[in-house]
């Protein structure tokens, strides 16, 4: 019989919401890009501290999944580092609020002997024309490309500038996250990949493209970057959602997560405009 009570107890523990959710009278759902998920989670907790009646749920799933959920009314806020228009999410009701810019950094396994390449060389490497690092001045190592999937913002940012063939070359593997890319590059001789953000572990080497250093403060010089943004549906977004968006889009914590606030030239003013439109 004790098993029976244990089972009932477990059911109740699963089914009954926690105190935090029970105390909340307003619920907000954010879903979308995994690249900004850590920041959104941390910032949402901070927002809930000042708004104890608001419970914020943050889920990943990818940029397009977030936009699709927003279109179907299943999320309040979509986070995306892909442009909705490029993927058929044409909706005049979506309002975009840019979070900032994230640099896309190329990294290699140190045994490649590479410290920098040109854009032309990068294009040849990504299209599979360069099979050995010796062809671009590196060590005699076979090239292994560590790519991101088509739904990744970093991949879109690189493809937009490099415009490689649709099909990946035979020497490419696909990894689903920044962490998986870094681990694969670190463990595979001759590997090269790219990630969003500037947190580079010691066992991989960041390389410059056309001599530009992504760690430079001159962000206009970043050759590759994503622009993660939040999207809301203006037809039905509630005031508390707009308040949260404003909070997320102006949080100083962004820098700690590799999201650098936009300058007025990059659309920084857009946040101010958004706040005006949102009535703050």
């Amino acid at each position: 019989m004790s098993w029976f009570y244990l089972l009932i107890g477990l059911w109740l523990a699963v089914l009954l919401p926690s105190n935090a959710v029970l105390g909340a009278t307003r619920h907000i759902v954010i879903s979308g890009a995994t690249s900004v998920l850590p920041y959104l989670k941390a910032a949402s907790v901070a927002f809930s501290r000042t708004h104890p009646d608001v419970a914020v749920a943050v889920t990943g799933g990818g940029s397009l999944a977030g936009l699709a959920a927003l279109k179907r009314g299943r999320t309040d806020i979509a986070a995306s580092d892909l442009s909705p228009e490029d993927f058929g999410f044409l909706s005049g009701r979506f309002r975009r609020i840019q979070l900032g810019r994230m640099p896309v950094v190329f990294v290699v396994n140190p045994d490649t002997g590479i410290g920098g390449i040109t854009s032309a060389q990068l294009r040849r490497i990504l299209s599979g024309e360069v099979a050995n690092w010796a062809q671009v001045g590196g060590a005699d190592r076979r090239v292994l490309l560590v790519e991101r999937p088509r739904g990744s913002g970093a991949r879109a940012a690189v493809d937009r500038r490099v415009n490689p063939p649709v099909d990946l070359p035979a020497n490419a593997v696909v990894q689903l996250s920044n962490g998986a890319v870094l681990r694969t590059v670190a463990e595979s001789p001759g590997a090269m990949g790219y990630i969003e953000g500037l947190v580079i572990p010691r066992d991989v080497r960041m390389i410059r493209v056309d001599g530009k250093d992504p760690r430079s403060n001159a962000r206009s010089g970043w050759p590759y970057y994503t622009e993660p943004s939040l999207y809301v549906d203006t037809a039905w977004s509630r005031p508390v959602v707009r308040e949260l968006v404003q909070f997320l889009a102006t949080g100083r914590e962004r820098m700690r997560f590799g999201i650098f606030p936009p300058t007025p030239n990059e659309g920084g003013g857009a946040n101010d405009r958004a706040s005006t439109q949102f009535g703050h």
């Binding site: 995994t34 799933g61 990818g62 940029s63 397009l64 999944a65 699709a68 959920a69 279109k71 179907r72 993927f87 058929g88 076979r142 292994l144 790519e147 999937p149 088509r150 739904g151 990744s152 649709v166 099909d167 990946l168 035979a170 020497n171 490419a172 593997v173 696909v174 990894q175 689903l176 998986a180 681990r183 694969t184 463990e187 595979s188 001789p189």
Partner: protein, 288 residues
Amino acid sequence: MTEHQRNLAIERLQAAAFLAAAAALAAGLAFVLWMLVRDAAALVSHQNLIAMLLGTRWDPLSGRYGMAPFIWGSAVTAAIALAIAVPFGLSIAVWSVQILSTRERSRVATLLTVFASIPSVVYGWWGLTVVVPGLRHLTGLYGYSLLAGGVVLAVMILPTFALLAVGALDAIPTELTEASLGLGATLDQTLFRVTLPVASLRLRRAGAVALARALGETIAVQMVVGGAISTFPHLELPGATMTSQLLTDLPLMPPGTLGHGALALMALLLFLGTTLLMRFAAMGEDAR
């Protein structure tokens, strides 16, 4: 109310609870199946089904959904896994049932259960740190390959197959083996001419369950298989399976998009494949 009436009432309540639980499970499965069929049908109404199944070009953003590379990848990795896991698993089962004492057999079964319950991401991690570098060293290529996927799957399904095979051999009446030995057959002759043939139906079912697990495994395969989409790649080169591509492209084709139908179709293929496998495994039992 008498005690008998109270017991009857409790039994009726229990029967209703069990029926509700079974109905909820059936309804849940039917709902998932209905969603897959609905999404797949939306795509099939726009595209030729056979062309998709036999097509070799996967470019979902351009509306091209050739799935042959993934069907090939799934078939190859599952075949490699089965080819490695079955002989090893059968050896463990024979060793366990025919040589070990009951106490030792119990310890082996516990160990196999522990290995069978390890999360698949741990097997994937092991594949990344052991299998991929090992294959890289052996082949001189990248290590990420269909072969790596097959080896990781083999290690994953080995405990499952071995446990079921132990059960299959254990279920054979001792009179049969004793009669064989009593007639002068050696242990080897008894094993190959009595034990294994008698257990063949259960062993086939064990193989089918292991194969179904291999076909359905996702994350461990995705971590080592490479994920490159090329037409019928060589075993030593990066490739993709149906499950690994489902995982990779789900963010690109979320529910509500036409391309999501292609992912639903792949899920239905996997469902159909495992259902057929189970039917095949149960065929002999029906005849009995």
